[in-house]
C-alpha cells in the first residue's frame, strides 16, 4: 500500500486507499490493535474514574432535548478535564492549524503512535475553507490552558489524508494524520484501534474528549459520553455533546473488561445531514473499518 503523506509544498497523490471502502460491508470482522499507556505517570485520574463510560446501555444516559444543536439538549453536560497530564487525556492533542490561505483554525487530534496524530481529514486538508493543505499545525498533547504543555509541543508541516477525502470531501472518509518528527507520543502513550461489527457497536457507550472553541478557547480539554445512536456502513452517530474545535477527537470505548482505551471512530461532524432513514439527530464521525485501520497503521 502506498504511503500517502504530504510535505509542503503540496503534491497530489494517487492510490486506492480511500476508495477501497466503497465495497465495505456492514458486518465487519472484529479487529483490535492495543493501546500503549505511555512512559509518564500511570496514576488514574479522578476524571477517568468518575466520567469514563464502559459497556453498553439500552437507553441514553440522558434524553436529548433539541434536534439541531451539537450540544444535544437543554444543558451542556461536557466536563472540563483538569488532569490532562494523566491517561487517557494526555493522548489527546490541541491543534493550532494554519491553512494554505494563511487563516487560522483549531482542532483536535490523538496519538495512534509516538509520531502519529490522527485527526479529521478537514483539519489537514480543505480545498474550500483552508485553500488546500494546512501549511503547519502545532500539536500540543494534553494541553491545559496556557500553562507549560506537560509533554511539549511540535509544529508539523507533514500531513496525510484519505484519497477519497482529498478527491471528493466525502464525510464518510474524513480522516487524516499529522506526522511528527519527534517521538512526542512516547510519554503520553497512544490509543488502541478497534474495528467492531455493527452488533458490537449497537448501544455501546462511547467517550469523546477534545478542544472546543468554547469554553476554553481551544486550550482546555472537554469531555462528554453517551451511547451509540446509530451506525451506517462507514459512520457512527452518537448523542454526545461536542462543539466546533473538537473535529478529530477520538471516539473511544473499552472492550472485554480491558482498561485500554480503543478508538472506534473519529469525531468530525455536528448534527445535520444525518441520513433520513436513521431518524436520529446526532453528532458523528467516520468509524474505523478494516481499510481505515490498515491505512492508519501505514501512516504510523
Amino acid at each position: 500500500m502506498e504511503l500517502k503523506s504530504v510535505d509542503n509544498p503540496r503534491r497530489k497523490e494517487s492510490g486506492l486507499e480511500g476508495l477501497v471502502g466503497e465495497v465495505a460491508v456492514v458486518e465487519q470482522p472484529r479487529q483490535i490493535v492495543g493501546a500503549a499507556s505511555g512512559a509518564a505517570d500511570d496514576s488514574k485520574s479522578r476524571a477517568e474514574q468518575h466520567f469514563i463510560v464502559r459497556g453498553k446501555r439500552a437507553k441514553p444516559l440522558r434524553q436529548p432535548g433539541s434536534a439541531l444543536e451539537t450540544v444535544l439538549g437543554d444543558v451542556d453536560r461536557r466536563k472540563h478535564i483538569l488532569e490532562t497530564d494523566l491517561s487517557p487525556w494526555r493522548m489527546i492533542c490541541a491543534l493550532e492549524i494554519e491553512g494554505a490561505n494563511g487563516l487560522s483554525f483549531i482542532g483536535t487530534g490523538w496519538f495512534a503512535g509516538p509520531r502519529t496524530v490522527v485527526t479529521a481529514g478537514h483539519c489537514v486538508f480543505d480545498p474550500v475553507e483552508m485553500g488546500g493543505w494546512a501549511q503547519r499545525i502545532r500539536v500540543v498533547p494534553g494541553r491545559d490552558g496556557d500553562i507549560d504543555p506537560p509533554f511539549g509541543s511540535e509544529v508539523s508541516t507533514r500531513f496525510s489524508a484519505s484519497d477519497r477525502w482529498q478527491q471528493a470531501q466525502d464525510p464518510d472518509y474524513d480522516y487524516g494524520v499529522i506526522h511528527l518528527s519527534q517521538d512526542l507520543g512516547t510519554k503520553p502513550g497512544h490509543f488502541g484501534l478497534a474495528v467492531l461489527p455493527d452488533a458490537e457497536l449497537h448501544e455501546r457507550l462511547l467517550n469523546v474528549s477534545g478542544y472546543p472553541i468554547t469554553p476554553g478557547g481551544g486550550k482546555d480539554q472537554y469531555f462528554h459520553a453517551n451511547r451509540v445512536k446509530a451506525v451506517t456502513a462507514r459512520r457512527v452517530f452518537y448523542d454526545i455533546d461536542t462543539v466546533g474545535g473538537q473535529s478529530g477527537s477520538p471516539v473511544w470505548a473499552y472492550l472485554d473488561g480491558s482498561d485500554d482505551p480503543v478508538v472506534i471512530g473519529i469525531h468530525a461532524y455536528g448534527v445535520g445531514g444525518t441520513p433520513a432513514a436513521l431518524s436520529v439527530h446526532a453528532n458523528s464521525g467516520p468509524r474505523l473499518l478494516p481499510e481505515v485501520l490498515e491505512l492508519i497503521q501505514t501512516w504510523i
Binding site: I106, A120, G217, V243, G270, N283
Partner: protein, 97 residues
C-alpha cells in the same frame, strides 16, 4: 467495481466559501475571536476558525440553514442565523456580558 478506473469525483457535499466578520457592539472588528457552526440542517465540519486582526474569517457552507457562534478572547459571545450556499458577508456581533 473497477477501482483502478474510478474517476476523481467532485465534492459530494458542495460548499460555498463565505467571508465573515466578527464585530463588537460598536461595529469594530474583533480579532482573535473563535467561530464555529453550532447548529444546522446539513452536517458541517466541527472545526474552529480564528479571526484575523481585522475580525475576518471564512467558512464553507453547504445549502441549508445554520447558526454560527463567535467567542471573543474575553468570553463574550455572539450568534447569527445564516442561510448556506452562495451569499453575502456573514457578520457576527459580539455582545459583552
Amino acid at each position: 467495481m473497477d477501482l483502478e478506473n474510478e474517476p476523481v469525483r467532485q465534492s459530494i457535499n458542495p460548499r460555498s466559501l463565505r467571508r465573515g466578520r466578527v464585530v463588537n457592539a460598536e461595529g469594530k472588528p474583533v480579532g482573535g475571536a473563535l467561530v464555529a457552526v453550532v447548529s444546522g440542517t446539513t452536517a458541517t465540519p466541527e472545526i474552529g476558525r480564528r479571526t484575523t486582526g481585522g475580525g475576518i474569517f471564512q467558512v464553507a457552507l453547504p445549502e441549508g440553514s445554520f447558526r454560527m457562534q463567535a467567542v471573543a478572547a474575553s468570553g463574550a459571545t455572539g450568534t447569527v442565523e445564516v442561510e448556506g450556499g452562495d451569499g453575502g458577508e456573514i457578520v457576527i456581533r459580539i455582545e459583552e456580558r
